[in-house]
């Protein structure tokens, strides 16, 4: 169906269901309960981030997962996309369609230039070149290009901006032909409240489209060529294949995905700054991809989801929340538990992430997706041992 095998189609359906129902699934606890206040992640601002960073890492995975070329400057394309979108808001109107289109196009053009130069080298030198380009972009955006980027203040829309296509009475916030991104309905059921926001659903639809396109690319001759480049470039050359245009296309597609993510970030909140291109932002993309599972279809969504969850939910758990949780226990035990847990939550969420990352890299080179497959194998007990399951997974992956 839709040109997919049964297995891939099922995977797509799962992603469609999860993204469309995310506002419900991620709000498992009543609003007023302490668990709800701590762990409910189904609010629009965070849901948008899940979807947007999912798109970003899906695109990154087309480059890194298939070809093995590690771009360490991918945030530059995200940033460029955001700037392009905000400029469209300033010049044309708050309609998100031209903004998102331009962000994808500009990021694509930008990645032709960076890709053309960086792809002259491979391995660590390629990574360093992309990193250098991204840091140059950051520095330019921060200072030299202030007329274009508004420097450290960040680019935003002012009342004095032309907005030549905005008619009288047009919404003063991003909208899709009059439908504001921020409009939402809330469904109250008992103690639960589920908010369905236009902005999130736009991001969700884009995520589904991005995911579908990535499945098609993975299964296409182009995707196979990219995996062949990762496997053996010598054989590619002696088979009569020119690896350069394949690599450049992979780089451009991946950059356009990042541009789309940048455009969506601006569409959700019409301002942007140079920090979006900073090297730590690029590093985060790499961590998301590796955590989820490089080269797997679903890994990027898992990886970006886990990190955004830790960043936004676990980081909120401060000492007061811990006191609430363990309050019923005798004081010495309560204090002991808090002493134990506290370094890993709240501001210490990076520590949790770091440990998780180490565990994944050491024990699950295939990322959390591989972890999931192993768990499934343990529960199924069909194939007996874990190694047999892993081999099956590897075979299915490449046998499609």
């Amino acid at each position: 169906m839709l040109g997919l095998t049964r297995k891939d189609f099922t995977l797509l359906l799962v992603v469609v269901a999860l993204t469309l129902l995310a506002p419900i699934i991620l709000n498992p606890f009543p609003v007023s309960s302490s668990l709800g206040q701590s762990f409910n992640a189904g609010y629009p601002a965070l849901l948008q981030r899940f979807a947007i960073f999912g798109i970003l890492v899906i695109g990154f995975n087309i480059l890194f997962g298939l070809t093995g070329y590690l771009s360490f400057g991918h945030a530059a394309f995200l940033g460029v996309g955001s700037y392009a979108a905000v400029w469209m808001f300033k010049l044309l109107s708050y309609n998100i369609v031209p903004a998102i289109l331009l962000s994808v196009i500009v990021a694509g053009l930008f990645s032709i230039v960076i890709g053309y130069v960086s792809l002259r080298r491979s391995g660590i030198y390629f990574s360093i070149l992309t990193l250098a380009f991204a840091q140059m972009s950051y520095a330019l955006a921060y200072s030299v290009l202030t007329p274009l980027t508004n420097g450290e203040t960040g680019l935003q829309v002012y009342a004095s901006d032309p907005q030549i296509l905005a008619g009288a009475g047009a919404p003063s916030a991003p909208h899709f032909f009059g439908l504001p991104m921020a409009s939402s309905t809330t469904l109250n059921m008992g103690g639960w409240a589920f908010t369905f926001e236009v902005g999130y659903y736009l991001c969700a639809l884009m995520l589904i489209a991005a995911f579908y396109l990535s499945i098609r690319i993975f299964r296409s001759p182009f995707g196979m060529m990219l995996r062949a480049i990762k496997s053996n470039q010598t054989r590619m050359n002696y088979t009569g294949l020119n690896t350069k245009p394949y690599m450049l296309w992979a780089f451009i597609i991946s950059g356009m995905y990042a541009g789309l993510a940048g455009g969506l970030l601006a569409a959700m909140d019409p301002l942007t700054g140079a920090e979006r291109m900073y090297w730590t932002a690029s590093g985060e993309i790499v961590v998301m991809a590796i955590l989820g599972g490089v080269g797997t279809l679903i890994g990027p969504i898992v990886g970006s989801g886990v990190i955004k969850y830790l960043e936004n939910i676990v980081s909120k758990i401060n000492e007061n929340v811990l006191h609430q949780w363990f309050g019923a226990l005798p004081d010495p035990i309560e204090n002991g538990l808090i002493w134990l847990v506290h370094p890993f939550v709240g501001e210490g969420w990076h520590l949790t992430l770091g440990l998780l990352f180490m565990v994944v890299v050491i024990f699950l080179p295939g990322g959390l997706v591989q972890g999931g497959q192993r768990l499934a194998a343990l529960f199924n007990r069909k194939s007996g041992t874990v190694t047999a399951a892993d081999r099956d997974a590897a075979r299915q992956k490449s046998a499609e």
Binding site: G3, L4, T5, R216, I217, R219, S220, P221, F222, G223, M224, M225, R227, A228, K230, S231, N232, T234, R235, M236, N237, Y238, T239, G240, L241, N242, T243, P245, Y246, W249, I253, A394, R395, S398, A399, E400
Partner: protein, 252 residues
């Protein structure tokens, strides 16, 4: 006029004359072996033929066109395939994919962007790859990851990858190096089979005299970067200059 004509090729690495005035003509439909002691310039010559090295002077014509200055992928597109000493295959891909890739390269050239239609919808190409695997008796292993194959199977897979492109000339760089006797014999049988069935022109660089004498129609002996003698296997076996330069130390 051979399919491959090497004329007056010189290559110098610093003070070392790796190739000195090499002339070589490989006739269509022959198996031409290039032998010689270590350091005779066999590998340098091969690297010149595939575009990896550019000679200081001389010309290399393949089917009337110069190969000099062309990139390896362009030379491969002209119809020259290469089999390596250690099989160069796509280890992370399945056996089937390993054969599909050269099929696409043959049909679509050095680059074509088809990123949407799935590979499995390319029925003609898939059938072609399956037929090739059938021919080398590997169809049952089509969905195995290539790295899991035995050494002998990897060699056969690499041959299949070259053959499916229907090359005009196959260059084989010590195809039996480091192989056990049984594997060597299998490889010889496979090469003979290819030769009788497909009549592909081959140039073989080889140390193993058994391989050379059981396959080659013509033999060129290189010594110190220069062709010493060229002739049929029988002529080479009895040539006193060859015995002195090379065969004297080897048991035939």
């Amino acid at each position: 006029m051979g399919i491959l004509e090497v004329k007056g090729v010189n290559k110098r690495f610093g003070g070392l004359q790796a190739l000195g005035d090499v002339n070589l003509s490989i006739a269509e439909n022959t198996v031409h072996a290039i032998i010689g002691p270590n350091g005779a310039g066999k590998s340098t010559l091969l690297n010149v033929l595939v575009g990896k090295l550019i000679p200081d002077s001389g010309s290399v014509m393949f089917d009337g066109q110069s190969v000099l200055g062309r990139k390896p992928f362009e030379i491969a597109q002209m119809g020259i395939s290469r089999v390596f000493q250690t099989p160069e295959i796509f280890s992370d891909l399945t056996v089937m994919e390993n054969v599909l890739i050269p099929c696409f390269a043959k049909r679509d050239g050095a680059f074509r962007m088809h990123a949407i239609e799935p590979v499995r919808h390319e029925r003609a190409i898939t059938a072609q790859a399956e037929a090739m695997l059938e021919e080398v008796n590997m169809l049952s292993k089509a969905h195995e990851i290539a790295s899991s194959l035995s050494r002998g199977d990897k060699r056969r897979l690499e041959m299949a990858m070259c053959l499916v492109q229907e090359p005009r000339l196959m260059l084989l760089d010590e195809p039996t190096a480091g192989m056990a006797r049984a594997d060597t014999e299998n490889t010889i049988a496979l090469l003979k089979d290819i030769r009788t069935k497909r009549g592909i022109t081959m140039a073989i660089i080889e140390h193993d005299m058994q391989v050379v004498f059981s396959l080659a129609d013509r033999i060129t002996v290189l010594a110190q970067g220069t062709p010493l003698v060229e002739g049929s296997p029988d002529q080479i076996k009895t040539d006193p200059k060859v015995r002195e330069a090379y065969l004297g130390e080897t048991q035939i």
